[in-house]
């Protein structure tokens, strides 16, 4: 069977109309929802922004304090290599990161001797604890130590 006849026989018109309408109703409703989405989320977002700002300030202060001190430890080339990798990992985390999470990432990324190296990083205060149980990365001391 061919032509219009075949279309009618197979209920083609109805199927096409239903089909395209479903597609439209899907994308139209989705676009409506999206268009409202950011308004809904807007309120929810502000606090975090403020907090971020606040943390930013705290950190600056910390940096200033450090600049005085000196690092009295000699690092092997391979240690420096590993520290650089740690630095990269930290970049992927929040400013105030959890040490175990960093260790976890370090192990996943196959850094060598994550434990002892992390320990050193703590000893020479490149990684320093903050007030609320997390840790921060002291870029300042890191640059001094590595270069």
């Amino acid at each position: 069977m061919y032509g219009i006849e075949a279309i009618n026989a197979n209920n083609g018109w109805a199927i096409s109309v239903v089909g395209i309408s479903i597609v439209f109703s899907g994308l139209v409703s989705l676009s409506l929802v999206i268009s409202q989405l950011h308004k809904v989320l807007a309120l929810y977002e502000n606090p975090s922004k403020i907090k971020a700002l606040f943390q930013g300030k705290k950190e600056e202060k910390k940096l200033e304090e450090d600049t005085e001190e000196v690092i009295d430890i000699v690092l092997t080339q391979s240690q420096k290599e590993t520290f650089k990798q740690f630095a990269l990992l930290v970049r992927t985390m929040e400013d105030h990161f959890s040490l175990p999470r960093l260790l976890h990432l370090a192990k996943i990324s196959g850094l060598k001797d994550p434990y002892s190296n992390l320990n050193t990083l703590l000893k020479i205060k490149i990684i320093a604890p903050d007030s609320d149980g997390f840790f921060t990365w002291n870029k300042n001391r890191f640059d001094k130590a590595v270069n």
């Binding site: 069977m1 061919y2 032509g3 219009i4 075949a6 279309i7 197979n10 083609g12 018109w13 199927i15 096409s16 239903v18 089909g19 395209i20 479903i22 597609v23 439209f24 109703s25 899907g26 994308l27 139209v28 409703s29 989705l30 676009s31 409506l32 929802v33 999206i34 268009s35 989405l37 950011h38 989320l41 929810y44 977002e45 992927t92 996943i108």
Partner: protein
């Protein structure tokens, strides 16, 4: 010993070959050439093209070499195509690499992604008119979705015997988007329209991007449950991408996983085009209908954009409508190039991505609808 030589010779391609194998081998070579030299969808044309070579080496049955012999290696790898397993995995990877920002910034552009899907259903009617069964007609219509994995998935479910021609048609035309679309775009739009500039999209927050795939998934799949396998994986991949903490999974999904799926899908789909099963009148009809459906899809997108402009305060550039056919990111790229012919400083690409990606969602929904109405 002569006997053995002769017996062996009778098993070589030099004895077994058939003109259709040669034709397909030439087509395969052309595919590889287009992929490499013209950079048309190389990630798909090259595997499919080489697959055509593999599938058209003249072989003797019984040893388990051919893709249609149940114990052949190719048959095992082809399983992921016939059961529709590779396409969702590809969608997982696509989700993990797609940035929906532009879509979120101007949701109205999604309508263009819907409009372009008209090509699917009009082609469906055309296929019926040419005497195809409804299930076959649906699979042929979906070519107009300009989305390879979707086309393969639906065909695997509705008309497995057509996977070869439909997949090849879909990918050929997706690759030829830079050739097919521009004339239609110039024909249906005025210079003045093509010069329209889009305003900078607003900045989209991380959290919006995070919530979108979840909302989109639930909404679309409540409406068209049969789109689940494709949209589910697409949105899942996007969740993995936007949720920073799962970056390593997103990374794997958008590299190894999608690459492996693409390699196996491409080479087996190519290998499924054995001359004797591929070079048929049906295939010819399918290619004709495929070309038509791409044309219609492009046109519908453009026209709908012009209609929208009748109602919108800030007009949109109707060229964007052509990006609604998906064929990510080629049709968006075409929109950009055609736009720059008129005004080299008009940067339409990022705006074209919005209808482009919604076209993907649109054709997945269409596939779901057709599947549920046919099954």
């Amino acid at each position: 010993m002569d006997a053995l030589f002769i017996e062996f010779f009778h098993n070589t391609g030099f004895y077994l070959w058939d003109y259709r194998n040669i034709i397909m081998i030439l087509i395969g070579t052309v595919f590889i050439y287009l992929g490499i030299a013209k950079d048309y969808e190389p990630l798909l044309l090259v595997p499919i093209g080489f697959g055509m070579l593999i599938g058209n080496i003249p072989i003797f049955k019984g040893l388990g070499l051919g893709i249609y012999e149940s114990n052949s290696v190719l048959h095992y790898l082809y399983f992921g195509v016939t059961q529709g397993i590779y396409p969702p995995l590809v969608f997982l990877g696509i989700g993990a690499m797609t940035d929906f920002s532009t879509l979120l910034a101007r949701p109205v552009l999604m309508l263009l992604g819907a409009a372009a899907q008209a090509g699917i259903f009009i082609t469906f009617l055309g296929a019926l008119a040419l005497g195809f069964e409804p299930n076959e007609a649906s699979s042929i219509g979906i070519i107009g979705g300009a989305d390879g994995p979707t086309a393969i998935f639906l065909t695997a479910k509705l008309a497995p015997q057509l996977i070869g021609p439909i997949a090849v048609a879909a990918y050929s035309y997706m690759a030829l988007v830079p050739v097919i679309q521009p004339p239609i775009m110039r024909l249906l739009t005025t210079r003045k329209e093509r010069l329209i500039r889009m305003e900078e999209p607003r900045e989209v927050s991380k959290r919006e991007k995070m919530v979108f795939p979840i909302v989109a998934f639930i909404l679309c799949c409540f409406l068209a449950p049969a789109a689940l396998p494709l949209l589910g994986m697409l949105c899942f991949g996007n969740v993995l991408k936007e949720a920073i903490v799962t970056e390593r999974l997103a990374q794997t999904a958008r590299t190894s996983l999608i690459d492996i799926a693409t390699i196996l899908l491409g080479v087996t789909v190519g290998a499924s085009t054995q001359g004797d099963v591929f070079l048929t009148p049906a295939s010819v009809k399918i290619f004709v209908l495929g070309a038509v459906s791409f044309g219609i899809a492009t046109a519908s997108g453009l026209i709908f954009a012009k209609i929208m402009n009748l109602f919108l305060k800030t007009k949109i550039n109707p060229l964007l409508g052509a990006a609604g056919v998906s064929a990510v990111p080629d049709s968006a790229r075409v929109v950009h190039v055609v736009g720059q012919e008129e005004d080299p400083t008009n940067f339409l690409l990022m705006h074209a991505m919005a209808p482009n990606v919604s076209g993907v969602i649109g054709s997945a929904i269409a596939a779901g609808v057709l599947w549920s109405l046919m099954a």
